[in-house]
Symmetry: C2
Subunit: 196 residues, 2 copies
DNA sequence: GGGTAAACGGAACCTTACTCCGATAGTGGC
DNA sequence: GCCACTATCGGAGTAAGGTTCCGTTTACCC
């Protein structure tokens, strides 16, 4: 996991110092540019901001998806870990599900264009798509399962479908005050409640 | 509205015959290409299929949005007109709303990439966005209003938000058998029901 | 048939993604 | 401390798509 350690000279060749420095610069620059120009800002802009050539970006992050994943990894992890926690601290499993979806929505809508690129069928974003799904679907499955077991919701919707749906609802949620993604996601979850 | 009339020689100059022919060719070609390659197929492809130069496309349809609107105008109109009709033929206003949303979803998911481009924040698709909204939001408003008046659903969601939400849910619905947009849209509408 | 302006076509240009390779400069061995 | 070795760098080059521009063609009116 942690490759920044530089223990006593071991056979495994350590990454060169400039490479590590550049990777850090790139992550910082990308994060800044993503905030100001969205996640599909031109690669050149990110390279310029980091003070490196475009070749350096592609060497460290073969696809744009890899860069996006690296930038948001921490937050995705946090979201994933929040699932089980909410299950413990909420009054009911349904309540936990509702709150977890809120977290996910908040994360997505605050990242200009991330939701859009997440659902893009553009090959090359497969890695991004997969990362989110691999990390979050299991968490969602558990929340859905708990809420279904407690009889609060129907049990005929897969976590995958729900995640994609919620992700879609977040598209374009920034830059349109009339569109409230959080609200709609809430209604969608509300729709899961058992009829009656 | 109808500019294909060529009434008795009036001062208004009639459009040249080749221009009218090309416009027709372009609409046919675009429709065909949209089906096989999606609505964001390269402009050059459409021009080639129609047997005209790219300049001719831009002369007839200044933006891609104009072309898309022209191609799907009939179906959008049909959808808009189906609203009031459903209100008359359905058992309850809620039922009419549910069925109308189904129609809208079916329309969107069968047009590769249309939903995505509809929500794109890319300026230049404003016209497309506006056309759909101008034409369909009033219809949706009426359906929502009727269902709210009959007490079947809550009344605190604007038609605009619902339309955007449903449109978003349709993104990427083709080419992913595990994702059922119609189902999710149904759940969203279900979520509108008054609690108890 | 001839004059005129509408309409055509596609070369040219711009922007962005992504690749490739000569130049640069850390690193480990001495 | 110096050198050779090679990982890494930087950005010119290539490709693809969108949009514009203007010399050429052609329908229309008389």
């Amino acid at each position: 996991m942690n490759d920044s350690d530089h223990g006593p000279g071991h056979p495994a060749r350590a990454k060169r110092a400039d490479a590590r420095r550049n990777e850090k610069s790139l992550l910082d620059a990308a994060a800044a540019v993503f905030v100001s120009s969205g996640v599909d800002a031109p690669v050149r802009d990110i390279a310029a901001r980091a003070g490196v050539g475009v070749g350096t970006i592609y060497r460290h992050f073969p696809t744009r998806a890899d860069l996006i994943i690296a930038v948001y990894r921490h937050q995705v992890e946090a979201c994933a870990e929040a699932g089980p926690a909410l299950l413990e601290t909420s009054a009911t499993p349904y309540e936990a599900l509702r709150r977890w979806i809120d977290l996910f929505v908040d994360f997505l809508v605050t990242k200009h264009g991330l939701a859009a690129v997440l659902q893009s069928d553009d090959a090359g974003f497969d890695a991004l798509h997969s990362y989110f799904l691999d990390r979050l679907v299991p968490v969602c499955t558990r929340l859905l399962g708990a809420a279904a077991d407690s009889g609060e919701i129907r049990s005929d919707l897969e976590a995958y479908g729900l995640m994609r749906g919620v992700g879609n609802l977040c598209i374009g949620a920034d830059h349109d005050p009339r569109y409230d993604a959080r609200r709609l996601a809430g209604l969608l979850v509300e729709g899961l409640r058992r009829p009656r």
